[in-house]
Symmetry: C2
Subunit: 521 residues, 2 copies
């Protein structure tokens, strides 16, 4: 083995800046340090790097299983949508036609480019431009119209894993990118009640996934009119509080009524032989969840991945102070890895990596800290003499190590991971609870959101900013004004809330319920 | 349960026309009858329906495992490629820029359309048009150039599962579509030998997958200059013989030399500290394999899915002649299903479906015949009295049934599926062998390919058409002439062939090796 060298990619330092110094920049630096993704040469499009993509693969695997268990089947529909399809639903085209990628030509030929230089220029103009799908209600609706004839064909429960494109002017890796990966469920039902039940059921699936796999607590709720999906009758969402106390919409589930069924002519003969329009839903989550995962759990040392979604659960780091002990240390590492790989965990077996890279020990250790692998196990000659290994939990301080026998680790690794998973959820939940406040006084409401100065004052000890639970009379004009003034919106009307009549925090008019107000991603 | 009705979707008939009557039309009809895919309203793009998509999911799962076992990691790169990137490699742009989807605008606004009517028209013209990826060498090369600095960063072994677009004028479901799904592997290596080894290794992975999972025998070989991937130094492929004796290229693996590394500036410091260009490869298979699967195994009754790739291994069909026996029959069906679902098979457990649909028994049975589910199990009151179930293999005649006890089925189901898998491979192999001929006489060669009249004469008993193993002097002009005259091309120069000098079948000039000549998809 050649002399270890210091890697340029994995310096032995924490993330700079810290969350308290500059949260937005900290986010970008964690994405970079954890090797999750990078900007591409194509404006607004990202490259999802292997560690980031494996998080998405794990999310996909779990969600896909949940979708199939609830009776959905996967299919695949075209990337391109004829412009005329998008125009079918008035509100929908209004919402989605504004910023999208438009294919106008199907050939390139030699010519003079716009910059005056010779090169390839578009040729073969299409009769009708094609839009790269921003979402697929209209193109999937065209298939559903063919597939659905009778009540026997319903419910039709379809999901698609796909890439979509929404031309974005200001992008941030994972949180808002021109192209992103997602799943979109599309279902058709014989009755309104069934479609509403589906809308709610899939929201519950998302909440289950967020809380029990991502360890990210969420509030389930209804969107106000202004925040609804274009063309939907009702939009439900899960909202999570990030560490900077802003809300992030993690997934949405839309009850579309008969709007899209009418636009796409999805009709069926009911049991009485009468032709009816179907009732449809759609629901989706995207690679945005990776950004949510980061902002829920990462710390000033880098990413922290909840064990149940970790691509590598345990990384084994051989400590090799002298070449002569390399063989025996490596053998102990591989032996432990083999034993751990036989341990069952969340429907599979543990993913274990022995880091054999030709790097300094500190660099290796830090690279895994930054990636957020749940458990690091160091094994060196001294450990072997004492019959122990050194175990470090990613959710604890970087320097914290626990010495235990290999047997104890193998026997206890699953409870350790389970405890970490629960502890990560509990920590995130405590953060949400600590930064959620019922506010009835308009002055206090204003102060709550304006006192937020996380970038200049370090991590604040007092609550300012977060989720305000305040009454709202559902006036869209008031909501719009609030957004302009404070950058605050109604995130949702909580599903588990109860009527609690009083004065609207914005207008003073009578209001029935409290809603969640927050700044949001 | 209401009165069973005859379904419009699953008439009790075999496929019309048969293979012998009209092979091309038979293909389309099997795709339709098996519910694999359908044409979409977008020219050249297909909708992959749930049963077809689940075949792709199974292929993905197996291939993905093979890629990971050979050290590859998945990542994701942008859908769009700036025109200037495509222009970087001269041959590559020549091969791919001709017919592709070009994004020229990023907005739609109200205006007058080309047909003179008011509506949405493209706006926000891009400074540089973007091409929807036809393949990703150039955009992935841009990332590799950043990721590779030192020999320590090599080999870099990446795979991407993605959609790609190549504007096609004549399309056929799965075989040639404007948009298709595929995986594209992209790797960078420090030495030419390593890159060549990778190229060969991935070809072997594809051949392993084709033969041992798809039950589709393949010939591994090198492409001639004219059939190479644009920009590649060498292209390897697997070629399979379809039932009409045409060849289908099932997968390709390209040794790209330093061509793309130079175009994208993928450079590294070698161990001696000298800056070198990397050596790269790329390799891919696509949803085309579903067409290959169909044309290898389907028969005049519909699709036949090899057990190892089947989405449903066993379908249980309750026979309910009288309503009063429904409960006891259904209970027996569910009990058997539960037992079968516990049986281990190819890395998971058996997928078993009890078909409870409200359809006539014959329609149900035929719908599964057409989908090609490997085993059908009928259970009726008479079977229950006799303590048996009726088992039908999809690779045997539709009316063939074997009575056996449920215990015997559960105990023997895996060997039955294994036997089917082997028998399907053996049958396809026998077909390939029977229709492959060493030909040295130019007249015989011409007759071999011109006597092919499968559409008018029924399934022929004599060999005419197929793979001709003939010597070729590698003259691209001769190959091009042959293609124009007979529609025959060199499919590959077999890797396991040996030198066998003689006269070129086309030019009479000295030639070293035999190659595979065939008509092809």
């Amino acid at each position: 083995m050649s002399q270890p060298t210091k890697s340029q990619n994995a310096p032995q330092t924490a993330i700079q800046p810290t969350r308290a110094q500059n949260y937005a920049e900290w986010y970008q630096q964690v994405v970079r340090a954890a090797d999750l993704a990078e900007n591409s040469p194509v404006r607004g499009c990202m490259v999802i790097k292997p560690w980031g993509y494996s998080l998405w693969e794990n999310m996909q695997r779990v969600l896909d299983r949940m979708f199939k268990q609830t009776g959905h089947k996967n299919a695949y529909f075209p990337l391109f949508i004829p412009l005329s399809f998008l125009e079918k639903e008035a509100q929908h085209v209004e919402g989605f036609a504004k910023e999208c990628a438009v294919v106008t030509h199907h050939r390139l030929q030699a010519g003079i480019k716009r910059d005056g230089k010779p090169g390839l220029i578009p040729a073969g103009e299409l009769d009708e431009p094609l839009v790269v799908r921003p979402t697929s209600e209209t193109i999937i609706g065209a298939s559903f119209a063919k597939w659905v004839q009778s009540y026997r064909d319903l419910p039709l429960l379809i999901n698609q894993w796909a890439n979509v494109v929404r031309w974005e002017m200001r992008t941030r890796l994972f949180l808002r990118t021109t192209e992103f990966l997602w799943q979109e469920g599309h279902t058709a039902h014989a009755t309104e009640a069934e479609a509403q039940e589906e809308t709610r059921k899939m929201l519950d699936v998302y909440a289950d996934f967020a809380e029990n796999w991502m360890a990210m607590p969420v509030v389930k709720g209804r969107k106000t009119e202004g925040e609804r999906f274009p063309g939907a009758v009702e939009t439900l969402s899960i909202e999570a509080m990030m560490q900077d106390r802003k809300a992030l919409q993690g997934g949405t589930s839309h009850f579309l009524g008969q709007n899209f069924a009418k636009a796409s002519e999805i009709k069926f003969l009911d049991q009485a032989g009468i032709l009816q329009h179907a009732w449809t839903t759609s629901w989706g989550v995207s690679t945005r969840l990776i950004g949510a995962l980061l902002m829920t759990h990462a710390d000033d040392d880098g990413m922290v991945v909840p064990p149940r979604l970790a691509p590598t659960h345990v990384v084994i780091l051989p400590i090799l102070p002298k070449p002569e002990c390399a063989a025996v240390v490596m053998e102990a590492c591989e032996k432990l890895a083999a034993r751990l790989r036989e341990v069952s965990y969340v429907g599979g077996t543990l993913e274990v990596e022995v880091d054999r890279r030709d790097l300094r020990g500190g660099d290796k250790m830090w690279s895994w800290v930054k990636k957020g692998a749940p458990l690091r196990v160091e094994i060196g000659p001294r450990d072997l003499e004492q019959g122990v290994v050194s175990v470090s939990r990613r959710d604890r301080g970087v320097k914290e190590r626990t010495a235990m026998s290999a047997d104890a680790l193998v026997a206890g690794v699953v409870s350790l991971l389970d405890e970490m998973q629960q502890s990560m959820f509990a920590k995130a939940k405590a953060h949400e609870v600590a930064n959620t406040r019922s506010i009835d006084d308009p002055k206090e409401f204003r102060a709550f959101f304006t006192a937020l100065k996380p970038e200049s004052e370090g991590v604040p000890t007092e609550i300012h900013g977060g989720f305000a639970l305040s009454r709202f009379a559902m006036d869209p004009m008031e909501e719009s004004k609030l957004k302009d003034e404070l950058g605050v919106t109604v995130r949702c009307i909580p599903l588990d809330g109860q009527d609690d009549p009083g004065q609207c925090i914005l207008s003073g008019k009578p209001a029935k319920r409290r809603v969640v107000f927050a700044k949001a991603y």
